[in-house]
């Protein structure tokens, strides 16, 4: 891939999911589901909030019931074909009309597993409905309301405020306060996307012409990865995002920082970098508050340096990756909307310096 490319999430995000694999090999593949209570930053089985937790417990219930059913059916089948009265092959005279009395007895026996099936399914339904209820009953008082707008292939994130000036816009990274409910208002401007952060909750589609809302809560701090779950075109695979759950005070500090407009660059290099930004294609699509650049069709870069990843949680936000992305993003995400920018080394360095300063 890109020469600049480094492993994503080297900054401590990646490690947890490694342990998944150990857990699995230990369990062996046949047991992989059972043994998969492993931790991961993108796993439905490592809940970080009530919604995901409820679903997980429903999951385990279903797993064990299913395992039992599968075992019974398999054993019954194996016994049926292998038990005593083995035939003398196909020449055995077929039993054209089995004795009706015997058949009636058998009917009664068969009725038992059928009854069990119905009862089991009914039980599972009740379990499922109760879970649906609990999920729906999450209270959303003093919730943080966030607009999430899906684009091919990135996520626009806006923190809703009554006063427009306080409205914070960022991309591909959603900071949320631990222990406080979050309400997402999901919209899409192009095709259908689906918001899915497995550690926190299930998924919800972003459908053009429909606004959907979706609420969840994190009950522990952490960085969780999610990605688009509804096929949305060439870069569906690289339409990721991070949800960063942090203690409220930290979160509000972050929010405050996001509201601040970065000061104009003071040293010549960064000043030149800003000129490059404004003079080149960048400013046609991107916004940097405090500058004339007000493009609305690409991620807001006002605080780009403060984010952990770029290119929709595809690359760690390092200067090297930024450079690679700016110069030739099509090598990293073929088909994405960012044109190549063949800048001179000086211009590129200046631009990187400028962007790197936008904390």
């Amino acid at each position: 891939m890109s020469g600049f490319r480094q492993r994503p999430f080297e900054k401590g995000i990646a490690q947890p999911s490694r342990s998944c694999f150990e857990g699995r090999t230990a369990g062996g593949i046949a047991l992989s589901i059972a043994s998969s209570g492993c931790s991961g930053i993108q796993s439905a089985l490592d809940p970080a909030g009530p919604q995901a937790a409820h679903i997980e417990s429903l999951w385990w219930l279903m797993v064990w019931v299913s395992a039992a059913v599968l075992l019974l059916v398999t054993l019954a089948t194996l016994y049926a074909v292998s038990h005593g009265r083995q035939a003398r092959g196909l020449d055995a005279e077929p039993e054209a009309t089995p004795d009706p009395v015997a058949e009636r007895k058998r009917a009664l026996i068969v009725a038992i597993p059928v009854g069990m099936t119905i009862v089991t399914l009914f039980g599972l339904q009740v379990a499922s409905f109760t879970t649906d209820r609990t999920l729906a009953s999450l209270s959303t008082d003093n919730a943080v309301v966030i607009d999430v707008i899906g684009h091919q292939w990135w996520w626009e994130v806006q923190y809703v405020e009554t006063t427009p000036s306080l409205r914070v816009t960022t991309a591909n990274e959603i900071h949320i306060p631990v222990g406080q409910p979050v309400v997402l208002r999901l919209q899409s401007n192009d095709v259908i996307h689906s918001f899915w952060a497995p550690n926190l909750a299930g998924k919800k589609d972003l459908i053009p012409g429909h606004e959907t809302t979706f609420s969840f809560k994190a009950d522990r701090a952490g960085v969780f990865r999610g990605q688009c779950a509804e096929y949305c075109g060439y870069q569906h695979a690289n339409m990721g995002f991070l949800v960063i759950a942090e203690p409220p005070e930290q979160f509000y500090a972050w929010l405050k920082k996001q509201r601040a407009i970065p000061p104009p660059p003071d040293d010549p290099i960064r000043q030149h970098g800003q000129e490059v930004f404004l003079a080149s294609t960048c400013s046609l699509c991107h916004t940097i508050q405090g500058t004339p650049a007000a493009g609305k069709v690409a991620p807001d870069l006002t605080h780009i340096a403060g984010r952990q990843t770029i290119a929709a949680a595809t690359l760690p936000n390092t200067p090297g990756n930024r450079a690679g992305w700016i110069v030739d993003s099509q090598r990293i995400k073929p088909g994405n909307r960012m044109p190549p920018n063949p800048l001179t080394p000086q211009d590129l360095q200046a631009l990187l310096a400028y962007l790197g300063d936008l904390q």
């Binding site: 299913s66 089948t77 196909l90 599972l124 729906a136 459908i207 990605q227 060439y234």
Partner: protein, 642 residues
């Protein structure tokens, strides 16, 4: 029972037989092959073509598995990968699964109900040609880099005019039209055949379960497929003539597509699954050496499944904006559809339990079905739960699930069916040991491929991604899946070699190698042109098991013209003799005309107008009666009195 083989060589008889066989035979040569309307040759073509598409779709799948074998792989890029999975899904659903099941019906139903050809034989030929041309069009487009890349359910707006430029999605939409036209016509033929062409005495409650399954499938096709034809037509109109069905800004709606599509798409799964149940019933009965336990329950279960499958399409849309109350209903329905399937499984187990099972390859595949399908069914129950679905929906978990139900539920029984009926179709047995290898490679490879996908889904891997970063930790399970895919490919290769070998060297089968009880085994293998030279008279479920000595038969059908016996709907009393059409070129010509219209309409709406003119003429030529040949009154009464 098989009257023909036991017929004493009385001169006039053999003469009559030859005459009858001549009457029902195709003209020789390639032209004769083109104009054939015999359900056996059409059925064979259908099966071979569908299997060819199965192999193609499989190769696409292997390519995808190779791409996903390791993180950040560069075998194929997103553009090609999107075409690969779209082609794979569309091929397997539209060009393999449904056609191959209908093909089995085309070949077997007339034999099982004891008649000489399928109802509307020319329509049957027509449907094959339309299906073939549709498939060829799709793959030609694919090899011209115009393969659809919007997923096999082509969600709008992605598949709409703004986000998929060019003709790719249009080729998808027209492929659907082609294949649905073929499927719908076959459905009508099956229904008419089952209702009106049954041998005298085969009352509805004596029909083989296989025939019941095909009947239910045919009805489902009739009520489900129009939905997808309508929606794909709306899609192509949005793309080509600027209608606004799916444009939110002008009163359209993206979810409108999803409702229409899944109203077809869910029954579709059962359209594929129910015939498989019929195959299993045939195999289980033959190899347990007794009729399937609980005939009535089995029939009712089939019908119940058919009905229920129409009221659970919304469980594909739980992640959208469907109101909660509605979801509850669909959850209940989606879970409860497991009951009829459960009933059938229990009945089969009882059949095996109380019979004297002989584990030959066909039965082996059925046993594989039991394990895989039950597992797939259970994950299906999980997907029916709104909450749980919200986690695993559109993830690799779902990929695992539907491969368990579709491959386990349809492909395993189908392979069993291939092993079971191959002797009837070709006159030779498939090699047993190779069959065992075929099965075990498939069974192990399958589980190795798809079981890990459950885990991948839970670890957050969405479906339809062409790559994933190493940090996700999805690499190992994906590698495992790819290895499994290799095993499946290997087992299919074994099967193909087995077929090629057995065609030449396979052990001669004889009329009824499995000593089975249904009528298709009452005639020679392969069946003669006229299927049965006397239409048997049926008095039991498994005629060949019940009837010991020389059974009653039907006499008096013409030997000079293709005459079949029409019987009454319920208890199959002889009603009248209908003359069936001779081989004809018009089905092919009509299919060509129709194909020109369909393909042309991808490029200009006017093709619909101008294209309809040749279609009209072809159809007129089709239905214009041939100058009636002189019908000799002499009819073949019996083999003894001339």
């Amino acid at each position: 029972m098989s009257t023909a083989t036991t017929a004493p060589a009385v001169s006039d008889t053999s003469q009559e037989r030859r005459q009858l066989e001549r009457t029902w035979s195709d003209p020789p040569g390639f032209y004769g092959w083109l104009i054939s309307v015999d359900h056996k040759s059409i059925g064979k073509r259908y099966i071979i073509t569908a299997f060819a598409f199965f192999v193609l779709g499989g190769l696409l799948a292997v390519t995808m598995r190779l791409q996903l074998a390791r993180p950040e792989n560069h075998l194929v890029g997103p553009d090609l990968y999107n075409q690969l999975f779209t082609m794979h899904g569309s091929t397997m659903m539209f060009l393999f699964a449904v056609p191959v099941m209908e093909a089995m019906a085309i070949y077997l139903v007339p034999l099982m109900v004891g008649t000489r050809n399928i109802a509307f034989p020319r329509l049957n030929a027509f449907s094959y040609w339309v299906y073939l041309f549709g498939g060829l069009m799709l793959y030609t487009a694919f090899f011209l880099n115009s393969g659809p890349d919007v997923g096999w359910f082509s969600y709008v707006p992605l598949a709409g005019p703004e986000f998929t430029p060019g003709k790719r999605a249009d080729f998808w939409a027209q492929t659907v039209t082609f294949t649905e036209v073929a499927a719908l016509t076959v459905a009508v033929e099956i229904i008419a055949t089952v209702f009106k062409l049954r041998a005298p005495g085969m009352a509805l409650n004596r029909m083989p379960l296989f025939v019941w399954a095909m009947l239910v499938m045919a009805f489902m096709v009739i009520f489900a497929m129009p939905a997808v034809m309508l929606s794909s037509t709306m899609l192509i109109m949005d793309r080509l003539v600027g209608t606004h069905f799916f444009n939110p800004a002008e009163g359209g709606d993206a979810l409108f597509w999803q409702h229409l599509f899944w109203f077809f798409g869910h029954p579709e799964v059962y359209i594929i699954f129910i015939p498989a149940l019929g195959i299993i019933s045939s195999i289980v009965a033959a190899f347990a050496r007794r009729p399937v336990f609980g005939y009535l329950a089995m029939v009712l279960a089939l019908v119940a499944t058919g009905f229920t499958s129409f009221v659970l399409w919304v469980h594909h849309m739980f992640a959208t904006v469907v109101p909660g109350m509605g979801k509850g209903f669909f959850t209940a329905a989606s879970m409860m559809i497991a009951v009829p399937t459960g009933i059938q499984i229990f009945c089969w187990i009882t059949t095996l339990w109380t019979g004297r099972p002989v584990t030959k390859t066909p039965l082996l595949f059925v046993l594989g079905f039991f394990f895989i399908l039950v597992l797939g069914g259970l994950t299906g129950v999980m997907l029916a739960s709104v909450s749980l679905d919200s986690q695993v929906h559109d993830s690799f978990f779902v990929v695992a699930h539907f491969h368990y139900v579709l491959i386990g539920g349809a492909v395993f029984p189908l392979f069993g069916g291939f092993y079971y009926w191959f002797p009837k179709i070709t006159g030779r047995m498939l090699h047993e040991t190779a069959g065992k290898w075929n099965f075990w490679l498939f069974f192990i490879g399958f589980n190795l491929t798809f079981f890990p996908m459950h885990q991948l889904g839970l670890e957050g891997m969405p479906r339809r991604v062409y790559t994933y970063s190493e940090a996700t930790g999805w690499g190992d399970l994906n590698l495992m899946a790819t290895i499994g895919a290799g095993l499946i490919a290997l087992s299919v290769l074994v099967f193909i070699l087995n077929v090629l070998w057995s065609l030449r060297r396979g052990e001669i089968a004889g009329d009824n190698p499995w000593r089975a009880g249904t009528l298709e085994w009452a005639t020679s293998s392969p069946p003669r042109n006229d299927n049965f030279d006397f239409i048997p008279a049926v008095a039991a479920h498994e005629p060949l098991w019940e009837q010991k000595e020389e059974p009653a038969k039907t006499v008096g059908l013409s030997t000079e013209v293709r005459e079949v016996l029409i019987t009454t709907l319920l208890d199959a009393r002889p009603d009248h003799r209908l003359t069936f059409p001779d081989p004809s070129i018009w089905p092919l010509l009509s299919a060509i005309a129709v194909s020109i219209l369909f393909v042309g309409s991808i490029f200009t709406p006017w093709a619909v107008v101008w294209g309809s003119i040749p279609v009209t003429f072809a159809l007129i030529g089709w239905f214009w009666p041939k100058p009636g040949k002189p019908k000799r009154t002499c009819r073949w009464k019996s083999r003894h009195d001339p």
